[in-house]
Symmetry: C2
Subunit: 348 residues, 2 copies
DNA sequence: ATAAATGATGTAACGCGTTACATTAGTATT
DNA sequence: AATACTAATGTAACGCGTTACATCATTTAT
């Protein structure tokens, strides 16, 4: 193997000092005479010497790299969370690998292994398989075999108790659902539907569970036949709304699994000659960019994106440095209502 | 330093063979007796041994990691290109770091250094400073100092001649602008405006240059006062359109710098009581998800996303392996018109 | 049966930054 | 001036996978 780049030994030779001294200068560790320090720094600069982090990592067992695994970065929700993770990562000196699984379990396994080979200091899992209880188990097994004891943080999902060094940060979608229902009933709605999502995915299951509970509290408000699942996409919103419109009696307000679906719902209403919010109030989830594009713009429940990212990184960092985490390894953050124009009092 | 994980030496000891033999099994290199291979493999499996890529990389001078630097992943265009890069990267065994500069030059410099320390095998630059000629020069200097001779590929930008081991892949926005104009004139438009973007950014400058040329070919069609620059955002579209509406004479067709701006334009038209495409035809650029959300949906010029990503990776790979690149280091790909409902013949 | 060739495996150096420990230089104390 | 420290610097092992080269085992050729 040829050695291309300049190494610490080259710098040491040039300065007539030992590599240890150069290393001390680089890391500001130990004691170095001011004169020596200046000499070394000037030579480093002159040669554009850049330390090899592989070598450092090999010895220190730290790579200052973490991995983020998520389904698809083109999804605005994931992109926003990722961006916040990365912003926070800078503060901890971490750089981040992004791996898109395309919702393919095999690819998720593959990347998990890859990141392990790369000795990442931590792993953040986002919206992937960990949310589906069925496949959850085998993935945890894989994690244990492949990447343990690397710290893992799940965003909007859980792994608790099955893997040490694991924490989670979530948006409280359960509570948010109550916010949604109470907001709409506050506006005067007594007939509320729910569109989009699919069972087996946590963000759907949680919302349905909350809805179930809400049903018993406001029993005149939510009916089974106004719940139409489909998917998480704009088209899913279109489809679900079309399905809903087949019912003889219709709700006056619609909660959507996310803003993409809400946009599909809004546009379908408009296409079919209904007015939003006059005929239907439509409420979204996520506060993604799409919610400000539709006309009317969509009232939605916003994730605390910035906190999701920063707390996830904080957890990772705590676990890396063996700081006590205690019982606060699973944090749930409040979502906030962003009022726009897609919701109003129901038509009399 | 404690050694946590199982190393190749542990496996070797357990098998009563040398590390070289284990390495041969791992890499399928050299010759290994079938019996030995099976033994080694079984022990590897039993111990869940995962080779340390840092150590491998230290010797082989390959990390199988590349870096992608772009302004903000939340921008749908960048997300789509990134996704395609990553998909292609898999085929070359590469995993990718994603670095968001937030359009901050200092952060771009910082990440460039970081990625160099991490010994990335290649660097892909996307929509960043490399497109602005002013700051271009200093960044090239930095690149040379910091990361040379690591291969660099620019997507929709150039660096040519100033850095060896550099290639570029671009959407031919110049030609696309002619497609746009000729499409609109084909529909019968003789008054065409242009909204959004800002000077100093390549995708704006190129389009303006093409527009200038088009002006001379279709001289009755494009007027200086119908060109309103602003930004790349939805709001930029709103602002530019509002500005345009102040003109006494108005165009019948509007080309927008991208789909976000086009969406702002469309919605502003509607808010102001105009009909799209009846009063104004609106043409977008990028074919991002937003173009199917507006009503009407936006006719747009699509980037060849998949090729952009796969060719960029192919270039990186060629340069890594010293394959001849010759004159094909700067490729320009055709954009394609995606017809939807925002453009039609002008009102009589 | 012996030489020649091929197959299988081992040894040790290498890549490069870090750090425990040793050594030398320099300053303070008495 | 001699002792006791502290500061400054050097030496060498370490982390771990790879590979050139050496060595030993087989098989084929003569």
């Amino acid at each position: 193997m040829k050695k291309n780049k300049i190494s610490i030994r080259d710098i040491a030779r040039e300065c007539n000092v030992s590599v240890a001294t150069v290393s001390r200068v680089l890391n500001n560790s130990g004691t170095v005479k001011e004169e020596t320090r200046k000499l070394v720094q000037s030579v480093i600069e002159r040669y554009n010497y850049i330390p090899n982090e592989l070598a450092r990592g090999l010895y220190t067992q730290r790579t200052r790299s973490i991995g983020v695994i998520l389904p698809e970065i083109t999804n605005h929700f994931f992109a926003k969370v990722f961006l916040e993770i990365e912003k926070a990562a800078i503060d901890y000196g971490q750089t981040v690998f992004l791996c898109n699984t395309l919702s393919d379990n095999a690819l998720q396994d593959f990347y998990t292994l890859r990141l392990s080979e790369k000795q990442v200091d931590g792993l953040i899992l986002l919206g992937g398989r960990v949310n589906e209880t069925k496949t959850n188990v085998q993935y945890i097994k894989l994690l244990k075999n492949v990447i343990y004891p690397t710290p893992v943080v799940i965003i909007n999902g859980k792994l608790e108790n099955y893997y040490d060094n694991c924490a989670s940060v979530s948006s409280d979608e359960y509570e948010a659902m109550f916010q949604a229902v109470s907001y709409l009933t506050g506006l005067g709605h007594r007939k509320i539907g729910f569109l989009g999502g699919m069972r087996g995915i946590m963000s759907t299951d949680i919302k349905l569970k909350a809805l179930e509970k809400a049903k018993s509290l406001y029993d005149y408000t939510i009916r089974e036949e106004w719940i139409k699942l489909s998917s998480y996409t704009y088209q899913g919103g279109v489809d679900a709304m079309l399905e809903l419109l087949k019912e003889k009696e219709l709700p006056t307000a619609i909660i959507s699994i996310n803003d993409e679906v809400a946009a599909g719902v809004v546009n379908t209403c408009i296409s079919k000659g209904y007015k939003v919010p006059y005929d239907f109030s439509v409420l979204g989830f996520d506060n993604s960019s799409i919610s400000t594009i539709t006309m009317p713009r969509i009232t939605t429940l916003a994730h605390p994106y910035e906190e999701l990212g920063s707390i996830a990184m904080e957890f990772i960092n705590n676990m890396i440095n063996d700081k006590p985490m205690k019982d606060i390894t699973n944090i749930s953050l409040k979502m906030s209502l962003v009022e726009r124009e897609s919701c109003a009092a129901p038509r009399k």
